[in-house]
């Protein structure tokens, strides 16, 4: 199939996005052709400014348009607790909860020797620096419950332990409002392990 160069370039760009296959890319590209020029311009500007104006917060590593980020500069937040997550999306998930009022630290990944990612390749050294501040009393490790996430959590806990700061790991188990019968065997067995006295 022959496409004029401008549109083939556009299709090619869309295929670079996650979840977009060749067919969807063609569909999106042709849709763009029929959009109003203003909308297309706004779209293009939004793309560029998202990339240019957003940086990573120099304190916590979360995405932000001002440095330090809003969460880090918010004086009403509790300095004594830091929640460590793998990804900026995890911060947003936590914030949706509106229950946690401490600070965050975004690692941007997890330790994986297989992929050549060591502790210094993710935001671990910065975290250690932040702990030099006496205000920090607790670290909540909220990395993902998979092999790499667990390893990263264990690694950080070992580095931090000597400092005497309290280290906690989020619980694994059943989703709320769900039915027991739909839980998979592994989640159930984790939930059994983590049961507590009433």
């Amino acid at each position: 199939m022959y496409y004029p160069e401008p549109i083939s370039k556009l299709i090619d760009s869309f295929t670079k996005l996650p979840g977009i296959g060749p067919k969807t890319a063609v569909r999106l590209a042709f849709f763009v052709l029929n959009m109003k020029e203003d909308d297309v311009l706004d779209f293009a500007k939004a793309l560029v400014s998202a990339k240019r104006e957003l940086t990573h917060c120099s304190v916590c590593g979360h995405i932000t348009d001002q440095d330090p980020c809003q969460i880090c500069t918010d004086a009403s937040r509790d300095d004594s607790v830091i929640c460590v997550v793998e990804d900026p999306k995890d911060v947003i998930a936590m914030e949706k909860m509106r229950e946690f009022n401490g600070r965050y630290h975004v690692l941007h990944g997890s330790i994986s020797p297989m992929d050549g990612i060591g502790p210094e390749d993710i935001n671990v050294p910065d975290l250690i620096n932040r702990l030099k501040d006496d205000k920090v009393k607790e670290i909540i490790l909220a990395t993902n419950p998979n092999v790499e996430g667990e390893a990263t959590a264990m690694y950080i806990s070992r580095l931090v332990k000597p400092s005497g700061i309290r280290i906690t790991r989020i619980a694994h188990g059943l989703p709320m409002g769900g039915d027991l019968e739909y839980a998979d065997e592994v989640t159930l067995s984790k939930a059994m392990e983590g049961r507590r006295e009433l």
Partner: protein, 376 residues
């Protein structure tokens, strides 16, 4: 449990086939390359959603066709359960009771199958990997959580080996990460080893009397677990964990020098003894065969024990390799309780009495050309 009927569409050399089976013994006769094993494979596929002969599902689809389908009716606990497997270039679908099962693990286990094929002789003769796979498959069939730990173990092992290589080449000097991965490894290794010990004990309890029966009480079978660490086969979880911890601690430098994980379930093996002699090294061809057979028959009892019903037994081209006595003993032990499928090239290979009671199918070039035996 037994399979009542089977329908194949575009499956290997079967363009279309519909067949009803006997709830007891079914004999499939045909020349070489006519489709006997394909029929067995189809039953296996219906149970495990994949073949034991290939890892590529596409090979199951007949030449020049776009899809293949295996359907069967399973009779289990007084119910008829329709099973269906569909294969297409882009993937496969498993249907249980006409409902698609998104997770294959929800489908596997509906039909339990024990297969004995010539390759299974490797269980005794082959590499340790074959025996580890045997033990893992068996435990996995009845304990899904075991599969999870095994998967996690493999992942941690990969990570740990990479880190050990990095340490060996001095790309990094961080041993904190190594100790983290060691702890993770031990956690899963302990569970795996404890479950294997438990399973082995059960397996031996079943296999020993069966083996004695087949050999007319001349041979006593025993199975030993050859662990990469020094540990008793009846050690409890805490002891196993402590042993692993001690071994990994003592050998950290050795592992770094070698750049690889030297201890753990991935280095373990099973050793079979007949009358206290290692069958793998000192056993005759016949002894090795009998050992493999005893293990498979023990597997049948194990599944019965766990699931509550006997699985379906597939004997692909093995009956002719056993002598008359072993053959009749085998068929006697399974008769009346286990639905069995037997393939052979000639009726003469099989004891007359059995044939008389069985339903016999003659296979030629992808279809059943003749059927005989009781059609009750």
């Amino acid at each position: 449990m037994h399979i009542k009927d089977l329908t194949l569409t575009n499956y290997r050399n079967y363009p279309s086939l519909a067949v009803e089976f006997d709830p007891k013994v079914n004999v499939i006769i045909g020349e070489n390359a006519q489709g006997k094993t394909n029929l067995m494979e189809a039953i296996y596929v219906l149970a495990f959603t994949k073949s034991y002969r290939t890892t590529k599902d596409n090979e199951l689809i007949a030449w020049d066709q776009t899809f293949a389908k295996v359907e069967g009716t399973l009779f289990k606990r007084n119910y008829h359960v329709p099973l269906e497997m569909q294969f297409q270039a882009k993937g496969k679908k498993a249907k249980l009771n006409h409902l698609e099962q998104k997770r294959l693990s929800d489908y596997i286990g509906a039909l339990n199958v024990v297969m004995f094929a010539p390759e299974d002789l490797n269980l005794v003769k082959g590499s340790p990997q074959v025996r580890r796979r045997f033990i893992d498959m068996e435990i996995g069939q009845v304990k899904p959580v075991y599969i999870y730990h095994l998967g996690q173990y493999q992942k941690v092992l990969k990570q740990r080996n990479h880190l050990l290589k990095d340490l060996q080449r001095r790309k990094t000097t961080d041993t904190t990460m190594l100790s983290v991965l060691t702890d993770q490894l031990i956690e899963h290794a302990t569970i795996i080893l404890a479950k294997r010990f438990l399973f082995l004990d059960l397996l031996m309890n079943w296999a020993r009397p069966i083996h004695e029966g087949i050999t007319q009480h001349k041979e006593i079978l025993s199975i030993a677990y050859d662990a990469s660490i020094d540990i008793d086969n009846d050690a409890d979880v805490d002891t196993i964990k402590q042993r692993y911890q001690a071994v990994f601690e003592q050998n950290q430098q050795k592992e770094i020098d070698r750049g690889s994980t030297l201890y753990g379930p991935h280095r373990d093996d099973l050793i079979f003894y007949v009358n206290d002699r290692n069958v793998q090294t000192f056993g005759s061809q016949g002894q090795q065969r009998t050992t493999a057979l005893s293990l498979k028959l023990a597997e049948i009892e194990l599944i019965k024990n766990e699931v509550g019903e006997y699985p379906v037994l597939l004997l692909d081209d093995v009956l002719s390799e056993l002598d008359r006595y072993r053959q009749s003993h085998l068929l006697h032990t399974i008769k009346d309780k286990v639905q069995t499928f037997v393939t052979t090239t000639s009726v003469n290979d099989i004891e007359h009495e059995t044939i008389r009671q069985a339903r016999v199918f003659h296979v030629e070039n992808g279809s059943i050309i003749k059927q005989e035996g009781d059609k009750s």
